[in-house]
Amino acid sequence: MSLLEIKDLHATVEGHEILKGVNLTINAGEVHSIMGPNGSGKSTLAQVLARRDTYKVTSGEIWFRGKDLLEMKPEVAACEGIFMAFQYPVEIPGIGNAYFLRAAMNAMRKYRGEDELDAMDFLPLFRERLNLLEMDEKLMSRSVNEGFSGGEKKRNEILQMAMLEPKLAILDETDSGLDIDALRIVAKGINALRSPDRAMLLVTHYQRLLDYIVPDFVHVLVDGQIVRSGGPELALELEEQGYGWAEAETGQGLPA
């Protein structure tokens, strides 16, 4: 059984059809990258997988670990093992980072019928992961993402992923806006989490991130459809040639 199976997925945002028949299968242990020009539907796909309900699925199916993902609320999908690192992580004044992380972990443990973590169980793992992402523990007593730099926000997303240990991690343009040092740290964090029972879906516009995280598969999304799939070499090809050829192939121009 595949970890994730997307069949002929169509989705709309505010009445506009963005995804026009996406097919994609991801197995445990694999790292896939979805690339494509702006407006091709990459982020929409990520949001649909995270079950954001402003993105309406009009037809198609998504099966995650044998269950119908489209039946799940965002929190259920999260507890089942879906994690999306946000392109624009949200600032939440008044909710502390560490508190939030522990609440999230405990919500998932409760879902799985496990005992809640107390502070003593939580702290060692937390410190280890903070180290991995070279983050200052002081940041964690502050409110979620509040006053964080762009790079700190992205690292915080990866920290959350590292703590929540999802089955499928979707990274929505995690590389965008990062300087090279931050990119290396984020990539190190992501690589450390690669494992045979975890899959990753890297949504990105550029090849840059893929210099550090070599994917098993690269898919090119243009105008709501995957127009080509291949190995890591496809990303290099795209970097050199741009997306013009792919758009020509589908007969679609670059969306405005």
């Binding site: 954001r52 929190e75 999306m84 909710i95 939030f100």
Partner: protein, 463 residues
């Protein structure tokens, strides 16, 4: 409509009765204060919405109900029944049942040196100096009919005296229980807090209903903070949803006195909380902090009148409101800077979350500045729960109710965080848990297809 003539008769009769019984032994000065106040009330009657200070709150229902004073005997309330309302870490607890002191339920032993707490009636009988100097000298019966009514009809309340330089670390807990009787009853609790120079203390007034009967509470508290005194006052309204609760806190602050007022309005049907600090001494400071959480048909009106009367004073007003259902909130903040109050620094902020289409907030800042070298700012925002934040929390596994509650808690937490005394803060935090989970449950699946993320009004003015 000011007051129905037949109701006026009702109040006169109650007054006469009071003069013959519980107030029969009042000293002359108090007797004349009461008589004067009654005259004031008769002349003014209850305010109407034509009165600018009452524009958003219609109290005509109060004028129509023939409220009675509670029967002279206490209804049976056991210690067990009120255990639930205990405040952990308080230095003492006074319990009032329908406005009358209940010594058997109170805990007033082993008070620390420098703190005196007794019932106000007892303090009057003992001819306490603080009472003679301050009772009825600050709360203004001429500007407010409810203050006049209280001054005429109060039966009891608390007298809290903190001696010069005494540091009282634990809060004084005043528990006002309203216990239903067959008729709609009213109470007029009266509290006097006298904190002498350099002293420090915290007082919590906590209004609770036992049962679900209609009651009308009209409380007045005078708080006198001597030079350099640091006093914190917390008013908690958590009565049942048929209660009418009007309360007035009038503070008189000496030189460099620092007063914090926290108003936590959670319960009640028609609630009006007046906070009226007068910064009489130079360099006085006050924090007026409030949180109001309404649902159903609750009406929660916060009225502040901050008077800067001397130079170099500073005042900070922060009120956060959460309104659901058809609840109606009011924030009416007046700041008056008198002619001599140069270098005043006054700030006013009101933030509101409206959780339903029918919830309503009226927010009205009002600055009257008669000095020419002052800094006054005010701002207000009205918004909804941030759907992006809600989705973010849910995407990490928190269910919708808990995610919503976490966001409400964070918003309310801004106010709770301003309470310095940890015992009071934890007490309020606990009360909020229940209230917020109720609100978070009550609004599942709020509109996710937002029509514009936030409707926001913001104004900032320096003058």
């Amino acid at each position: 409509m000011t007051i129905a003539p037949e109701q006026l008769g009702n109040y006169l009769e109650i007054f006469d009765n009071l003069q013959k019984h519980s107030a029969a032994h009042d000293p002359g000065w108090l007797r004349s204060l009461r008589e004067d106040a009654l005259v004031r009330f008769n002349e003014a009657g209850f305010p109407t919405t034509r009165d600018e200070d009452w524009r958003f709150t219609n109290v005509s229902v109060l004028a129509q109900i023939p409220f009675r004073m509670a029967a002279s005997e206490h209804p049976a309330v056991s210690a067990r029944q009120i255990e639930l309302y205990d405040m952990a870490g308080s230095v003492c607890q006074m319990v009032f049942i329908n406005g009358r002191f209940a010594p058997q339920l109170s805990r007033l032993n082993n008070l620390p040196a420098g703190l005196e707490v007794c019932s106000l009636a007892e303090a009057v009988a003992r001819d306490e100096e603080g009472v003679k100097l301050h009772l009825g000298r600050h709360a203004n019966t001429r500007r407010d009919a409810f203050v006049a009514l209280n001054a005429a009809l109060w039966e009891d309340g608390a007298y809290i005296h903190i001696r010069k330089s005494a540091l009282i670390e634990q809060p004084v807990h005043l528990l006002y229980l309203s216990v239903g009787e067959d008729e709609a009853i009213m109470t007029h609790p009266r509290t006097l807090i006298v904190a002498e120079a350099g002293s420090e203390a915290a007082v919590v007034e906590d209004c609770v209903s036992l049962g679900d009967d209609v009651a009308f509470s009209n409380a007045v508290t005078e708080l006198v903070a001597g030079d350099g005194a640091v006093v914190s006052h917390c008013m908690i309204e958590r009565e049942n949803d048929r209660s009418f609760n009007i309360s007035t806190l009038r503070t008189q602050q000496g030189r460099a006195a620092n007063v914090a007022s926290h108003s936590i309005l959670l319960g009640g049907s028609l609630v009006r909380n007046n906070v009226h600090p007068v910064l009489a001494g130079e360099g006085a400071e006050c924090l007026i902090n409030g949180l109001f959480i309404g649902a159903g048909h609750q009406h929660l009106d916060n009225y502040m009148l901050v008077e800067h009367a001397s130079p170099n004073g500073s005042s900070r007003q922060f009120y956060n409101g959460i309104l659901d259902g058809q609840a109606h909130g009011v924030f009416h903040g007046r700041i008056i800077v008198h002619k001599d109050a140069q270098k005043t620094d006054a700030k006013q902020t009101n933030r509101n979350l409206l959780l339903s289409d029918d919830a309503r907030i009226d927010t009205k800042p009002q600055l009257e500045i008669h000095a020419d070298d002052v800094k006054c700012t005010h701002g207000a925002t009205i918004g909804q729960i941030d759907e992006n934040a809600l989705f973010y929390l849910r995407s990490r596994g928190l269910d919708e109710v808990h995610a919503r509650k976490a966001l409400l808690e964070a918003f309310a937490g801004e106010c709770v965080g301003r309470i310095q005394q940890s015992a009071v803060r934890s007490f309020v935090e606990n009360l909020l848990q229940d209230r917020l989970i109720g609100i978070a449950h009550a609004t599942p699946g709020a509109p996710l297809e937002a029509t514009g993320d936030e409707t926001r009004q913001h104004w900032e003015e320096v003058g």
